[in-house]
């Protein structure tokens, strides 16, 4: 146990920010930036993909469906290698491991999130779209003002758990030398040579703490959304059960 503490004391900065400022930003910072950028950029892509996939126009829905199937049907590591070798061919010059990993994550997460978005849209009652169209809204107008605001709100917990997956997926950046947390841990291990168990134990604990915190936050969020919905249902019963509201509101 003492050696674990020693390793952390000697290497905390490397685990936190990698070799920055003498090298690229790495460690947890790199992992988090990669995950946040990945999910933030994947989100608009996923909404577009989902809209294309459920659109009534085949020339739009078929390519979107194909892209989603391919991205979901291929191991992430393969996708990383494709992007790693293909992107430089397409744009004519090399890109950093970070950019490669980011592009891959955006494609991969975009495809997964697109299915979450689609499920969120399709879970809404059909009457929402009908009522909007009956009032004269266009299909896209109804999507934007009526369907998506509801669907995306309902999807918040799923999106947060997708973000947790993304954090874990960034570890694969290690194979193309992205200086994220796993890469930093491996550097430490290579230097120490004799204490792999301790080093990778620390690594596991860090990932666990980060991911568990976010999963916990997702659960809290889900509970609040459920409480809000239950409050709505209680409200629907009008005067009958006004007691239900304060009880729910008292929950943190």
């Amino acid at each position: 146990m003492g050696s674990v503490i020693d390793i952390v004391r000697d290497n905390w900065l490397l685990l936190l920010i990698g070799q920055y400022p003498n090298g690229p930003l790495g460690g947890i910072a790199c992992t988090l930036i990669l995950s946040v950028l990945g999910i933030v950029l994947a989100f608009p892509l996923s909404v577009l993909l989902a809209l294309a996939r459920i659109s009534p126009w085949r020339w739009l829905s078929w390519p979107a469906t194909a892209l989603i199937y391919v991205a979901r049907g291929v191991p992430l590591l393969m996708l990383i290698l494709w992007v790693y070798f293909l992107v430089p061919l397409l744009i004519g010059h090399n890109v950093s491991g970070f950019v490669t990993m980011l592009v891959t994550l955006v494609l991969y997460e975009g495809a997964y999130l697109a299915e979450v978005v689609r499920a969120g849209i399709e879970a809404l009652p059909k009457g929402q779209m009908e009522a909007s169209r009956a009032l004269g809204h266009s299909y896209l107008g109804a999507m934007r003002r009526v369907i998506l605001p509801q669907a995306l709100f309902n999807m918040l917990p799923s999106m947060l758990s997708q973000f947790v997956s993304t954090i874990k997926e960034t570890t694969l950046g290690y194979v193309i030398n992205v200086p994220e947390l796993t890469f930093a841990a491996n550097q430490i291990n290579n230097r120490l040579l004799t204490q792999p168990f301790q080093v990778f134990f620390i690594l596991a604990v860090i990932y666990f703490v980060v991911c568990w915190t976010l999963t916990w936050a997702a659960t809290q969020l889900e509970r609040r959304i459920e409480a809000k919905r239950a409050g709505t249902a209680a409200g629907r019963a009008a005067g009958r059960a006004p007691v239900a509201t304060p009880t729910l509101a008292a929950e943190p």
């Binding site: 009652p125 929402q128 009522a131 169209r133 009032l135 266009s138 629907r236």
Partner: protein, 244 residues
Amino acid sequence: MITFNQVNKWYGEYRALSDINAEVKRGEVVVVCGPSGSGKSTLIRTVNRLEEIKSGQVTIDGHDIHAPMSSAQLNRMRSRIGFVFQSFNLFPHLSALENVMLSPIHVAGVRRAEARDKAMKLLDRVGLAAKAGSYPGQLSGGQQQRVAIARALAMEPPAMLFDEPTSALDPEMVGEVLAVMRSLAADGMTMMCVTHEMNFAREVADRVWFMDAGCILESSDPEAFFRHAQHPRAQRFLSDLRSH
């Protein structure tokens, strides 16, 4: 104002509407009744093209809504017909006021302040000015349906369609919705209502259409219809209703 001309609709092999010919005149209140599965809801939904038809025309002020047209044209025509659903279909993420304001702002291009004033007037008219800030989940079924009526009225449609507006309500809430519909009728609104509320039909309707198996079997004034329906199927329907 609304005319059906040789309207036919099929669901696969099933003929949902067959050779419908009928007219709702301006200012008229028509109640459509009949057993479930008779095609009432399908018929009323063809008026703003929520249902497509196989053949025939449905015209509103002389314009065939089922004619080939751009989606912008269809949206414009739809915005001129109010539609009230059985399941209210209020937008749960918006307050009552925002529900009523949404379409005037984004479909009709009314300025926000103006839309808000008008929406408040409409909520007041359906007796819900005090609930303007409430979300649909906080309203009773009857209140939700009244907000839905205000929402439809906000587009100032010359005609209103009601598709079983009280069927999803608890009995004690039916009255408040019917009262709003009565006051609309009294103001001369052209209305087409699918409903099982026979008292409403008797008191408010100018004509009653009786439907079965996709046909309008009888179209008469309510007095005559309730005293002595012509068609045997309609007689049976009415005696079934009375036996409850």
